[in-house]
Symmetry: C2
Subunit: 235 residues, 2 copies
DNA sequence: CTTTATAATTGATATAATTCACTTTTTGAA
DNA sequence: TTCAAAAAGTGAATTATATCAATTATAAAG
């Protein structure tokens, strides 16, 4: 049985179709006029919150984390973005500074698009601007859901939920039966769930004992998603 | 001394200028073509999450809360909206259902604008559409900040922060020296902060003992904002 | 392959927050 | 003004989570 039926994935993730797919060639060319693809290494920083927003980024292939860091150095991961997604437009639209920081989680191919080209395309293409409105509204659902979960669910429930979300997100199309291996540090997992690393470790151990998952080094293999869904406890 | 300097209000609130102010008359008329003002009583529900999104709402005068309710009946307040703000567009932009629920907190004058007029204005007016993009991006800051605070600050710090935010929000322009009286139930305050009502009551008592505020019935008068700012502990 | 820095894990303890059961106060309707 | 319902307030017990201080395992670089 597919988890999709009982698990409303798009309430927890943004729509995964790329905002650029099937964009009219003219609009696409305008946007990409001065674009510049680069290979980023794991742990590199794409940009930091508060820095001047000089343009947006398009993830050709890879995984990144959007996060906020507070005074004490606590890091809260806002969203895990990946192949096909656009990054950094919030800051440009609302002012001229990036609103969060973005770190690269695995070696990634990422295209930089200068601010001017982004703005020009936005003005010129109502398709692009409508899609962006739609994307932003969808982000609203995801963020407000995260807020509710964070406020009212236990760490255990939140961790179970995030594991399911990440699994769905990183699942390759077509590979239905295959077990999905998550390659994410305990630290990042903790910063995503909003708790301390130690708690994540402890709960993962419990999950291991309950035969829900296996770990090998930092890699997590989920064996029983349904149990996780049950623990996360949502309708 | 104004609190504005040390308190980055727009990180916690949306920009308070109305999205409709100074909109070209032509666009405004298009938007308001079939609008309909109604008087809503305290505690009335404007719409519920998941309901068909038939249009948007403009708050002419009043206060409302945007919230999400989970299976267990827990209510998380996402945002307190008031005079001059637009409500309900996320659902229309991202699909056809409202993405949260909205309840009226005090008797309010609210205009309903049918979906078609909203969409037509959006297509026709690039000013309107640009402002909406800006508003949505700004919401992103507010929501991601809320997320970070919820995940990493104590209930005490969160409550202090919210009291400052509400005070700034509800402050009448010009009445600088006047003490601001907040009229909000402990329950709503708890649902905003993301905790139980009892905790809010206990911490308010502590604040009272520390001469930070006074309460008379459900009304809260803040006497020392700076102390609250200090407790909330942000740069 | 070995080394070394980094990350994961474990246990013990302290603290924060929730929950439940109850009393008191306030509010709004009659 | 009275009265009932709703909201606020209090105390005690329980549970969840954070924090600190180590040890062990892992991965990345030379």
């Amino acid at each position: 049985m597919s988890i999709k039926g009982i698990f409303p994935i798009d309430k927890w993730d943004f729509k995964s179709e790329s905002i650029l797919i099937d964009l009219p060639a003219e609009d696409f060319d305008l946007l990409m006029a001065h674009s510049n693809e680069k290979l980023y290494k794991k742990n590199e920083i794409l940009f930091r919150e508060g820095a001047y927003a000089s343009g947006i980024f398009y993830i050709v292939k890879g995984k990144v984390k959007k996060y906020k860091a507070d005074e004490e150095g606590n890091e809260q991961i806002i969203y895990l973005a990946h192949t096909g997604q656009l990054i950094g437009y919030h800051g440009i639209l609302s002012g001229d500074q990036y609103l969060d920081s973005v770190g690269v989680m695995e070696d990634s191919r990422i295209v930089f698009i200068p601010k001017d080209d982004f703005m020009r395309t936005l003005e010129h293409s109502s398709i692009f601007s409508n899609r962006l409105l739609k994307t932003l509204s969808h982000e609203y659902t995801v963020l407000t859901n995260s807020l509710t979960v964070l406020a009212h669910k236990t760490v255990r429930e939140r961790l179970a939920l995030q594991l399911v979300v990440i699994r769905e997100k990183y699942k390759e199309k077509g590979a239905e039966g295959m077990p999905i291996v998550l390659n994410i540090s305990r630290e990042d997992l903790a910063n995503l769930v909003g708790t301390a690393r130690e708690n994540v470790v402890r709960i993962l151990t419990e999950f291991k004992e309950d035969n829900i998952l296996e770990t090998k080094g930092r890699k997590i293999t989920i064996k029983d998603v349904n149990k996780l869904v049950q623990i996360a406890n949502f309708k």
